[in-house]
């Protein structure tokens, strides 16, 4: 069958089961968009208002569903605008395929209109990328792109398609069997001897702790994790990326660890004798001062990516493999060995944890005059029973969301952890809402972050996405201001943004519902009203201007030296 490159693009998307793509058209992408148009009954295209929005939406779609997100952008500025979205997905290992159009092959290298070296620019922020110079390679490359994006440690893959390639015909054959790439064979199963040693170490540990990250969610391994945690009755802490893997309401859950982690989680890390890292990468925001991290512990590290192992922290027992398969191996052995009966009595360890918990490190007081940001999130959690899909931007609101929204389920938490991309939340929520039209999707943002991609309100309204946007409005770039307060003698350099737009009017201008309050007693009623509204809602909460996220481990400090805050 003879097809054009653009027709092959659509064919290959359908082969992969893609029903939704996010994008923004342009000159070099015209042939591809013509085929997207013709395939309108099979593929839904969501038009963002900026390419960055399209990439984050595809990313949010991937995080919420577990399926690769797909974005299409044009050449030149389309591709450069996509870069932040690619880098965000790359840092958090999100499976995504980005198709970028390119100027025609004879023009490449000539500084043609809307030409950039897209594969050169995106090389270091994608898992892999391709420039397809010959249409005969196109189908193979697209199939490889999906395979690479969604296997091993997932990540974004970019395929750059010159305009003439998209308009050249070639033979198209449906895929025959699995994709194989001789130079790319990710490890899947864990080494059985290592697995056995891990179970032995778990069995004898007196003060064990599970420390799990986004890898558990990427591998769809939360059921296996929950089984192990419950079977051996282990305390567990999550990284920012791991939230939702284990129910926050469970007594075994100690909260998040790291820079803004809970007192009990950080003290448990500092005092455990066995730390089991699962799908986590010992990021500097987690470890604090490396030399004081888990000083008394043997460390087991389970990860699909060998480069993650012993990168920052030397581990005693590495297990390379897909987290889900490795956990299945461990669980099978735990069952077989009846490991839970062989464990030592850990009452003293649980007792210590209970003492740390008594600090109640996230305590705050909601007075009668000024709204506390924490209270808004806590109220949201109560009203939605921890079941909403929450997307955030980056800053204080993000950390408060991580601390105060008690996630019960995986894939309900969309946040830019690695790159820390302001402007991520709203478009990511669009991706999740498109995937799950009936679910409650809420953006928690700040007055700084929301303005970084506020144009996507247009997309929400065009596609009737009933996203609820909560702005915790303190008139500051709050997290930077917090650092300036604590470490730069309150010199608030360029962090005062109090002259924000009227967010209610902005919402109304786009056709959304806008609500606002600065009264603590109105927080609950306003949230109820906003959440119940059938369309897009912007809720502007005027919160305490100068409030800090605690606990806090200063950058480079040891976890056990955290600052507990004014109340404690």
């Amino acid at each position: 069958m003879q097809l054009t490159g653009a027709e092959i693009v659509v064919k290959c998307l359908l082969e992969q089961g893609v029903q939704t793509v996010f994008g923004y058209p342009g000159g070099a992408a015209l042939y591809i968009y013509d085929e997207i148009y013709k395939a309108g009954d099979k593929i839904t295209h969501i038009l963002s208002r900026h390419e960055q929005g399209a990439l984050h939406a595809a990313d949010g779609y991937a995080r919420a569903t577990g399926r690769p997100g797909v974005a299409i952008v044009t050449s030149g500025p389309g591709a450069t605008n996509a870069v932040t979205g690619l880098a965000t997905a790359y840092m958090d290992s999100i499976p995504m395929v980005c198709i970028s159009a390119q100027v025609s092959v004879p023009l490449i290298g000539n500084d043609a209109f809307q030409e950039v070296d897209t594969v050169g620019i995106t090389r270091s922020c994608t898992k892999h990328n391709y420039l397809v110079r010959d249409v005969r390679d196109l189908a193979r490359v697209l199939r490889e792109a999906f395979f690479i994006a969604n296997s091993g440690r997932p990540g974004p893959v970019l395929v750059d398609i010159p305009k003439d390639v998209s308009n050249t015909k070639t033979d198209y054959a449906p895929p025959s069997g699995e994709v194989t790439i001789r130079s790319y064979r990710p490890t899947t199963k864990g080494h059985q001897r290592q697995v056995r040693r891990a179970v032995e170490m778990l069995q004898v540990a007196e003060r064990p702790l599970l420390y799990t990250g986004g890898g558990v969610i990427l591998a769809n391994a939360w059921e296996e994790l929950r089984w192990l945690t419950n079977a051996l009755n282990l305390p567990i802490t999550h990284t920012l990326m791991g939230l939702g893997s284990f129910p926050a309401s469970d007594v075994r859950f100690l909260g998040m660890l790291g820079m803004h982690g809970t007192y009990e989680a950080n003290m448990a890390v500092s005092n455990c004798d066995l730390l089991v890292a699962i799908g986590a990468r010992f990021d500097d925001r987690v470890t604090g001062k490396i030399s004081s991290f888990a000083p008394h512990a043997k460390i087991i590290h389970i990860d699909v990516d060998p480069t993650s192992i012993s990168k920052n922290v030397r581990v005693d027992l590495p297990i390379v493999g897909d987290v889900r398969l490795v956990l299945n191996q461990i669980n099978a052995l735990v069952r077989e060995e009846k490991a839970e009966q062989k464990q030592p009595d850990r009452q003293a360890w649980w007792q210590e944890i209970a003492e740390w918990r008594k600090k109640d490190c996230l305590r705050f007081t909601q007075g009668p005059e000024v709204i506390e940001a924490q209270y808004v999130i806590q109220s949201l959690c109560t009203l939605t029973e921890g079941q909403a899909i929450i997307a955030t931007d980056v800053g204080q609101h993000q950390m408060w969301a991580a601390q105060f929204y008690g996630f019960q389920e995986a894939r309900h938490w969309l946040t830019s952890g690695g790159l820390g991309t302001m402007g991520y939340g709203l478009p990511a929520a669009m991706g999740a809402q498109v995937a799950f039209p009936k679910r409650q999707v809420v953006v928690i943002s700040g007055d700084g972050s929301i303005q970084m991609n506020i144009q996507e309100l247009g997309t929400c309204l065009q596609y009737n996405l009933p996203i609820k946007i909560i702005i915790l409005n303190n008139g500051y770039l709050g997290m930077v201001r917090q650092w300036q307060e604590l470490f730069y003698e309150r010199r608030y350099a360029e962090t005062d943004i109090a002259n924000a737009p009227d967010f209610v009017k902005v919402a109304e201008a786009y056709g959304a519902l806008g609500l606002r309050t600065d009264r603590p007693e109105e927080v609950m009623p306003l949230l109820r009203q906003g959440l119940a509204h059938p369309g897009t809602v912007v809720m502007d909460f005027r919160v305490r201007r100068e409030s800090n996220v605690y606990p806090m481990v200063p950058a480079g400090g040891a976890l056990q030296d955290m600052i507990l805050g004014e109340l404690l």
Binding site: R123, S124, L131, R182, S183, P306, S310
Partner: protein, 164 residues
């Protein structure tokens, strides 16, 4: 300590910048790098010399392996291996009135089993092959005669015996 790392890659456009980009992005250092297609031209062999302590070398090996078009990564310095580099040296033959200059240079060429590959009334080009130390020694011997330009390849290497 220096490590000679041999990387077999798919011979496709952009693969060299993936490798060199990895080193610059992660702050690893490359001392020398050579690359050429091998075998059926479907693959290329990159030989690079880098430095660092154990954990850094381990990261370099793992990060290289993580690149999609990389087929095989071997640290040749872990075992017995043969390493060679090639250098071309332009030497002046005009020093003073000494008529024996050419003879002296030819002696040095013989000692180092080098070759003269170009000669003019005022200069010679000498080709010398060997390991790093030998090239340094040869260059040091020729320096008093007036060395003009010097070019050298990076190191290429193979493991001894059946080791791959």
């Amino acid at each position: 300590m220096k490590h000679i790392i041999s990387v077999l890659v798919e011979n496709e456009s952009g693969v060299l910048s993936r490798v060199s980009g990895l080193f610059s992005a992660r702050g690893f250092n490359i001392e020398s790098l050579t690359v050429a297609p091998v075998g059926d031209k479907q693959t290329s062999r990159i030989t690079l010399v880098t430095g660092g302590d154990g954990p850094i070398i381990e990261q370099i090996l793992k990060q290289l392996h993580k690149l999609i078009p990389v087929i095989q990564v071997v640290n040749l310095s872990e075992g017995p291996h043969v390493g060679r580099e090639l250098m071309l040296i332009k030497v002046s033959t005009e020093r003073g009135q000494d008529k024996n200059v050419r003879d002296e240079i030819m002696d040095i060429v013989a000692i180092f089993r080098a070759q003269v590959v170009d000669a003019t009334p005022t200069s010679l080009i000498i080709e010398v092959t060997g390991d790093n130390d030998k090239l340094h020694a040869c260059l040091a011997m020729l320096e008093p005669y007036g060395v003009g330009e010097v070019v050298r390849t990076g190191q290429v290497a193979l493991a001894r015996g059946n080791r791959k």
